[in-house]
Amino acid sequence: MNKRAVFKSWWLPILFAFPQLLLILFFFYWPATSVLTWAFSLEPAFGGVGERLFVGWDNFRDVFADTEYWQSVSLSLFFAFSATALSMFVAFVLAICVDRQLKGSGLFRFFYIWPYAIAAPAVGLAFRFIFAPESGLIAVVNTWSPDLWNPAKFGSHAMVLVIICFAWKWIGYNFIFMTAGLQSIPRSLIEASSMDGSGPVRRALDLQIPLLAPTLFFLLVLNLTESFVGPDTYGIVDLTTEGGPNKATNVMVYRIVSEAFRGLNYSGAAAQSLILIALIMVFTFIQFRYVERRVHYK
């Protein structure tokens, strides 16, 4: 059975689609074509179409030749994998606890979902205060030993800070999907495994993770993509470390935005954007090609 509403006239469907088309045009196609043209030309920093110079692949050559760029790529990869691993692991543990109906799980389920509803810059700002080395909640550790925690001074600390921020925000999102996934596993399976003698950890490894694999795969792709290029990453880095100290958290998305709009190097930033998009495509391809194969769909 194929139920379709067929429009008799041509103008009505266009009218319905118009707002969406307008949005896509202004916020997707226009920027996308701009990026394409900028990436292959020398874009004047202060505007002026007449002086645009087509330079072919020169922008890309410049980007690839820059060691700082490669440092940014590896930072991004490190950030993406760590943040994804952390947020998925914590979310999974929480989801298992809620699924086991431990005491108060109803209330906690509610609280765990909240962080996702908070905008990334707000998260960044909050964490900036919480993790401020001189006056934040964590400042006490510096009284034990000076500089035990100082993200303004040590790059590794700053990286840890942004990873925690990102993971904290995304735990809620991952948690919802994992809880839903866990609850769709028949209770009798869990009971059967406990009759077979497996404890909670064993059960999670042997039963819940394999059966949750489709959900976990979906979340893996989403988390990696989001942490690699997502607006949350930009917002968090911008509000906590601003890419510092000494560019230790200068991940690709942050670098692109700051090069384009602070450094006014539109062409270089556009080239980097295209490279980033290509990287994401490669990433996703790899995941679907090699990871999804191992996923058991019921």
Binding site: S193, M195, G197, R202
Partner: protein
């Protein structure tokens, strides 16, 4: 082999009480069947033995050890679930061998035992299949294999046959009985199917509304149901009932104005009390209308069984089922006489539902039944 003792076990969810103090003893190696309508608490009781439900009150011990606070894995039970609960991502071998894997049994030993178990349940050819590729009966076998490989002290079956079609059910029933004979572990089997219960049980327990109504061998329960509920629940087609009053002499009850003789031992002490009288369809007799001590009845319709037939007759607006042999023929719409032999009439108190001539062997049952 282990004996199970259940002492005054209660279960409630919040303020709703599911089990009202159950006392039972299962001897080692016994095949116990718990029978009851849905919602009577039979599955809950089983799950409490398994350790899947917390025990609200009372004590369950297996082999003399109180297991109330023990984890399921430490109780030495294995269970076959109604929906089989097979691990969908593991093949048959992995499903059967999972308990051994968890227990850390070495691979070679594990493989040997998986093959041996698969042979017992007839799955040697299918060890590499996933559960989704198996038929209902095969899945049932995997579930049983998974249960027996652990060599448990106690087998628990939670309505394991109710998802199978009728033919397969009979076949699996025989296999379960055979398996029990071979392994001789104490088995507890929960079902709502009375044929299953009658055929499998050494000891049959009938439950209703969270109480144990009767404990006994299937034959005892069939012949002397302790309560009206047990009488109505056991036997197919169901027992016929009519309400009446025991005559002052204690020697007859009235049905549609006709005197029906009863066993004086039954009615003797209960002269004048209101009763619900029951008689099984297979004990009713149809005779020519007007025969002495028969109740005039109209034949309503006939259910043909091939090996016999069930004739439904109407007396005073009440339906009576009568089981008849192959040879006897009755036409719908004719008037006949219904004879109810005194030896087969069961009398239950109208107030308590208890059998009138019953010697209270199990005090608890009476107490709880009255309370209910």
């Amino acid at each position: 082999m282990a004996e199970i003792s259940i002492k005054d076990v209660c279960k409630s969810y919040g303020r709703t009480q599911i089990l009202h103090g159950v006392d039972l003893n299962f001897r080692a190696g016994e095949f116990v069947v718990i029978l009851g309508p849905s919602g009577c608490g039979k599955s809950t009781l089983l799950r409490m033995i398994a350790g899947l439900e917390e025990i609200t009150g009372g004590e369950i011990s297996i082999d003399g050890v109180v297991v109330n606070e023990l984890e399921p894995r430490d109780r030495g039970c294995s269970m076959v679930f109604q929906n089989y609960a097979l691990y969908p991502h593991m093949n048959v071998a992995a499903n059967i061998g999972y308990a051994l894997k968890v227990a850390g049994v070495p691979r070679a030993e594990r493989t040997r035992r998986i093959v041996e178990t698969a042979r017992i349940v007839g799955l040697e050819e299918l060890l590499d299949r996933k559960p989704a590729e198996l038929s209902g009966g095969q899945r049932q076998r995997v579930a049983m294999g998974r249960a027996i490989i652990r060599e448990p002290k106690v087998f628990l079956f939670d309505e394991p046959l109710s998802n199978l079609d009728a033919k397969l059910r009979v076949q699996m029933r025989v296999e379960i009985r055979r398996l029990h004979k071979r392994l001789s572990a104490t088995s507890v089997f929960v079902t709502h199917d009375q044929v299953e219960a009658m055929t499998l049980a050494d000891k049959l327990i009938v439950m209703n509304k969270g109480n144990v109504e009767q404990v006994g061998t299937p034959l005892e329960i069939y012949q002397r149901p302790r309560t009206r509920f047990v009488g109505s629940f056991i036997g197919s087609p169901a027992m016929n009932f009519f309400d009446s009053t025991v005559a002052p002499g204690g020697d007859f009850v009235l049905l549609d104005g006709i005197r029906l003789a009863i066993d004086p031992a039954l009615g003797g002490d209960n002269a004048g009390s209101a009763v619900s009288a029951g008689i099984r369809p297979e004990h009713c007799r149809l005779v020519a209308a007007g025969t002495a001590s028969s109740v005039p009845a109209t034949v309503d319709f006939v259910e043909e069984l091939g090996s016999g037939r069930i004739v439904h007759v109407e007396i005073d607006g009440r339906d009576f089922a009568v089981a008849m042999d192959e040879g006897q023929l009755v036409e719908a719409g004719t008037t006949v006489g219904l004879q109810l032999p005194a030896a087969h009439i069961h009398l239950f108190s109208l107030q308590t539902g208890l059998r009138l001539d019953d010697v209270p062997a199990v005090k608890r049952t009476i107490k709880t039944t009255v309370a209910a």
